[in-house]
């Protein structure tokens, strides 16, 4: 078992150097100190915990909806309340859970996998988290003051416009988008910079773990997709707050333009969520099938192709608006192309599992669950790509079934797999495998019980987003089954939390590399120290922990009395220069508050944009104030 050994070299004054490292990476104390953390483990954990709370919130909203729909003509929720809840559910899951969760995992894992000490811009990273948190609080402030958005997570005008949705509900929604946009763009920037410039020496692009590849692609997608939704939500928000006419059909504005811009973001958004999940799958399959990935190059190219094609098929959300036939043919073809690139990846995983020695851990259970569910979702996606079939199933429960199959199957199951896989790294303790397997089966059965019948229901004519339905339509029995399934999923969630709590307290001690995995994050202590590695590792192979111990190398000569790391070249990761991370700072938090004042206030009075800008400018002066050369500024 060579692989469980880490990269700790034996050199003379090691203890002293580690002690120095410890001091320079120590977190500041006290409440203000807590608000000033900039290490990627702390920020990543905060993202993960906040996003997980959002998952639970969104899940509770889903249960409320399922309770209302359990029987026909149910009076559990009023239509107003139901509309608020389904909108908040969609918004929470897409913007406040899925994307931030993937980002949080990336912030935690990417620097470890790249073999460096932090993300490239630690303060920007902290700022991004605070913006995300304030976005969460902003939306849920609305929810608890009866101003939850009620026009769907897509908010099509004119329904979402000033006349048909009076009050501030939609404004809260549109401005929450701005918060999460800022946060997502911060994360994307620093992830790209980290991956391009801070990989361990020797980790050339073709040696990068597939998970890191997936994050690189996802981050570029974020940078190209998010501006579109900023435009869409700005159209809406300025129409509502300062009486512009961007999307008002009566004055020559165009509600269809809004749909185009929204879906130009909205479709890539799905891939932004699920491409990192494909990265989880690759990492888990490799570690638990105990062999190198089959078809590394094909996988990378397929993911890159996925990223490109994702931007060319948004119109399949709009087939019912009426398109010229040539446009229909184009978007059918492009939508089906995504099945090729996804198919290649599935074949490669199957090949890896088939020729490997799969260890049926809980993590791998979730990967098998992913493969079953995601294949169904992919196949129904092919159905939706066909224009004539889409005319029938669009906006019915068939679509609800489809996207829960791809998003829960494609993202949530790999995510749970990832929790079971990386929990030992993050906490230092193993999760309980017995409860884990029970957890998997409860979720798997509950999921299929909830969402499979929805396919049939959609073909039987049940539209989406209805708060109730007449008894004589015959949708009652299926809806009842689905509600039972939803509660089973809820039990699965409780099991997971129980497992986390008890394992965190009394789980088996994990050690550095409990899975005998291949990538660099397993080369250090669990949980890692703030500086990640005592000596930065050198990657001599695509699977650095599976090479023979005698071939391993590490970096020495970095200064330990400040937060220093190595910058390497983009393609081949050759050492280039040393880089000093900025120290902990309260300014990202203060800047986030200033920006929040501007964003939140502008919903009520446009002048807040001005006040917010002035305050943010002042905060940035503090942020960038030079503090002598012991600290470099980011």
């Amino acid at each position: 078992m060579t692989a469980t050994q880490d990269f700790t070299p034996q050199i003379p004054n090691q203890a002293e150097e580690v002690e120095q490292l410890h001091r320079s990476w120590r977190h500041p104390r006290g409440v203000l100190g807590w608000l000033s953390y900039t290490t990627h483990q702390a920020i990543g954990t905060r993202y993960i915990i906040t996003a997980f709370i959002m998952l639970l919130t969104g899940g509770a909203e889903a249960l409320l909806m399922r309770t209302q729909l359990a029987r026909p003509n149910n009076g559990f929720l009023s239509p107003d309340r139901y509309n608020e809840i389904f909108t908040t559910h969609g918004t929470t899951m897409m913007f406040l859970f899925a994307v931030p969760m993937m980002e949080g995992m990336a912030i935690y894992l990417v620097p470890l996998m790249c073999g460096t000490r932090n993300v490239a811009f630690p303060r920007l990273n902290a700022f991004g988290y605070w913006m995300f948190l304030f976005g969460v609080l902003f939306l849920y402030w609305g929810v608890f003051t009866n101003a939850a958005p009620d026009v769907g997570w897509f908010a099509y005008p004119p329904l979402s416009g000033p006349q048909f949705t009076p009050g501030k509900r939609t404004d809260y929604w549109a401005q929450m988008i701005t918060f999460t946009e800022v946060s997502a763009l911060c994360v994307a920037t620093e992830i790209i910079a980290t991956i391009f410039k801070m990989r361990a020496p020797g980790m050339s692009l073709n040696r990068m773990p597939l998970y890191v590849w997936s994050l690189l692609i996802q981050s570029f997608m974020v940078i190209f997709a998010m501006p579109a939704v900023v435009i869409a939500s700005s159209y809406l928000l300025s129409d509502r707050t300062v009486a512009t006419q961007f999307v008002n059909p009566a004055e020559g504005g165009d509600p269809i333009l809004y749909q185009h811009v929204f879906w130009f973001f909205g479709h890539p958004e799905v891939y932004i969520i699920f491409i990192p999940a494909l990265g989880f799958v690759s990492a888990i399959v490799v570690a638990h099938a105990r062999r190198e990935i089959f078809g590394y190059t094909a996988m990378v190219l397929a993911q890159i192709a996925n990223g490109f094609i994702a931007f060319g098929l948004w119109v399949h959300h709009m087939f019912a608006t009426g398109l010229p036939q040539i446009g229909e043919a184009y978007f059918t073809a492009s939508s089906m192309m995504i099945a090729i690139t996804s198919g290649v990846q599935i074949f490669c995983w199957l090949a890896t599992l088939w020729t490997g020695r799969p260890r049926l851990t809980t993590a791998l259970h979730f990967i098998y669950g992913f493969l079953v569910i995601f294949v169904v979702g992919g196949l129904t996606g092919v159905v939706l790509a066909s224009v004539p079939l889409d005319w029938q199933v669009h906006d019915t429960y068939f679509v609800v079934a489809h996207f829960h199959y791809v998003l829960i199957g494609g993202a949530l199951f790999p995510l749970f797999g990832a929790f079971y896989h990386w929990f030992p790294k993050i906490t230092g303790r193993m999760m309980d495998e017995k409860i884990g397997r029970l957890n998997f089966w409860v979720l798997f059965i509950g999921f299929n019980l909830t969402f499979f019948p929805m396919h049939i229901q959609g073909l039987m004519g049940m539209p989406r987003r209805v708060y109730t339905y007449p008894a004589e339509m015959g949708w009652g029995p299926l809806n009842f089954i689905e509600t039972i399934g939803a509660y089973i999923i809820g039990i699965g969630g409780i099991l997971f939390i129980a497992n986390v709590v008890s394992s965190h307290r009394s789980g088996r001690i994990a050690g550095n590399n409990p899975w005998d995995a291949d990538s660099l994050e397993w080369a250090t202590a669990s949980p890692p120290e703030n500086y990640n590695f005592e000596y930065l590792p050198v990657a001599t192979s695509r699977y650095p922990l599976w090479v023979d111990r005698s071939e391993r190398a590490f970096v020495t000569g970095l200064r330990n009395d400040r937060r220093e790391a190595l910058v390497t070249t983009l393609m081949d990761a050759e050492p280039h220069h040393r880089y000093v991370f900025p120290a902990s700072s309260i300014w990202p938090f203060i800047t986030a508050i200033a920006v929040t004042i501007g964003f939140a206030g502008s919903v009520f009075n446009p002048w807040y944009i001005v006040w917010g800008s002035v305050l943010s400018g002042l905060a940035l002066v503090g942020w960038f104030w030079p503090r002598g050369d012991s600290e470099a500024e980011s």
């Binding site: 059909p249 509600p255 062999r291 099945a339 020695r357």
Partner: protein
């Protein structure tokens, strides 16, 4: 999927349901029939693919093909070159097959789309303008002769075997016209006119429902399409073009007065009376329709009385005014409206 679908459908039938009246898989016209055929060809093809992939998935758990060697992966983490090249051939083959299948599906899908488009351009079409409102449907039969232009609501009659052009418009927000037994959806978008051709090839009542989220009562925005033979359709049309029947009994005369003296007239029209409101469904032949409140409930005297007295409990948020009607006025009003056959 099919195997699960059959018992589910059976279950629904046991409950005595109307699922077949709003089902994409029970076509009542050529457009829906073509989509139905396309669906089943997709279903079987994709079903086979699903079974194959799941079989391979199970095989990864149970073991390998007989002629593949088992390497001691714990040390090398690498499969032998022989295994790799064998696997590569299989994966490449599977990818090529995937591409071919998708190509076939694209051709089938685009071909079906074209065939459906070609169905529209036949001679002697009927043109109906459907206008979406929060939360009801205005149905207008377009005719060059203004006296033959009929406006009604929430119930559309069409002749069997004659193509019908639906011109979709909206008065407020985006709605979507969808009668699954006849055709797929077409959005009704303010300031635009969308276009769809439907046709029924067998008589029957087909239910449709708004499919684009349109606010509080999106759930209760249904319409019936009644397909009937040409002669019965013509008779229906003649009857509907007549102004409302004059009330004949004392009760209905009084009911008419109640109607005309209340806020009803600001929104509803009854041709042949002074009631000329344009904001809500035309009630000229209200008694002949199947449902009340965009088919939220069947059209019975009891439901109608309940609807007039407290519309917000039946369909919370709808735009019908809640008017305090005297108990002595209610029965005549209901009788009058139901007499408008």
């Amino acid at each position: 999927m099919k195997r699960a679908a059959v018992p589910a459908f059976a279950l629904s039938v046991l409950y005595g349901c109307a699922w077949h009246q709003q089902s994409a898989l029970n076509p009542g016209g050529p457009q829906a029939a073509k989509i139905d055929t396309l669906w089943w060809s997709f279903f079987w093809l994709l079903g086979v693919i699903f079974i194959i992939v799941m079989t391979v998935l199970l095989l990864t758990l149970t073991g390998r093909r007989a002629n593949m060697e088992r390497e001691a992966l714990e040390v090398t983490h690498k499969a032998s070159p022989q295994t790799e090249s064998q696997t590569r051939r299989i994966v490449t083959g599977a990818t090529i097959i995937t591409i071919l299948i998708l190509f076939v599906l694209i051709v089938a899908s685009v071909g079906t789309g074209k065939a459906i488009a070609d169905l529209g351009f036949k001679k002697n079409p009927l043109t109906i303008q459907v206008t979406g409102n929060q939360w009801w449907w205005e149905i207008q039969y377009i005719n060059g002769d203004a006296s033959q232009t009929l406006v009604t609501a929430n119930e559309m009659h069409i002749p069997v075997g004659r193509p019908v052009q639906i011109l979709g418009q909206s008065q407020d927000v985006i709605h979507s016209f969808w009668v699954p037994n006849l055709h797929g959806k077409r959005d009704l978008i303010p300031s635009r006119t969308t276009n769809e051709w439907i046709e029924a090839d067998q008589p029957g009542a087909y239910r449709g429902q708004c499919a684009e989220f349109c606010g509080l009562q999106h759930a209760h925005m249904a319409l019936w399409v009644i397909a009937e033979p040409e002669d019965r359709f013509d008779a229906w049309m003649r009857a509907q073009l007549q102004p409302a029947a004059s009330p004949s009994t004392q009760e209905t005369i009084r009911g008419q007065q109640v109607f005309l003296n209340n806020a009803c007239v600001f929104c509803h029209q009854i041709r042949g009376t002074t009631a000329g409101g344009q904001n809500a469904p035309d009630l000229t032949h209200f008694g002949s329709r199947r449902g009340i409140a965009a088919n939220t409930v069947p059209n019975t005297k009891g439901n109608l009385a309940g609807w007039i007295v407290d519309p917000q409990s039946m369909k919370p948020g709808n735009h019908m005014a809640t008017i305090a009607v005297n108990s002595t006025d209610l029965q005549p009003l209901v009788d009058y409206l139901e007499s408008l056959k």
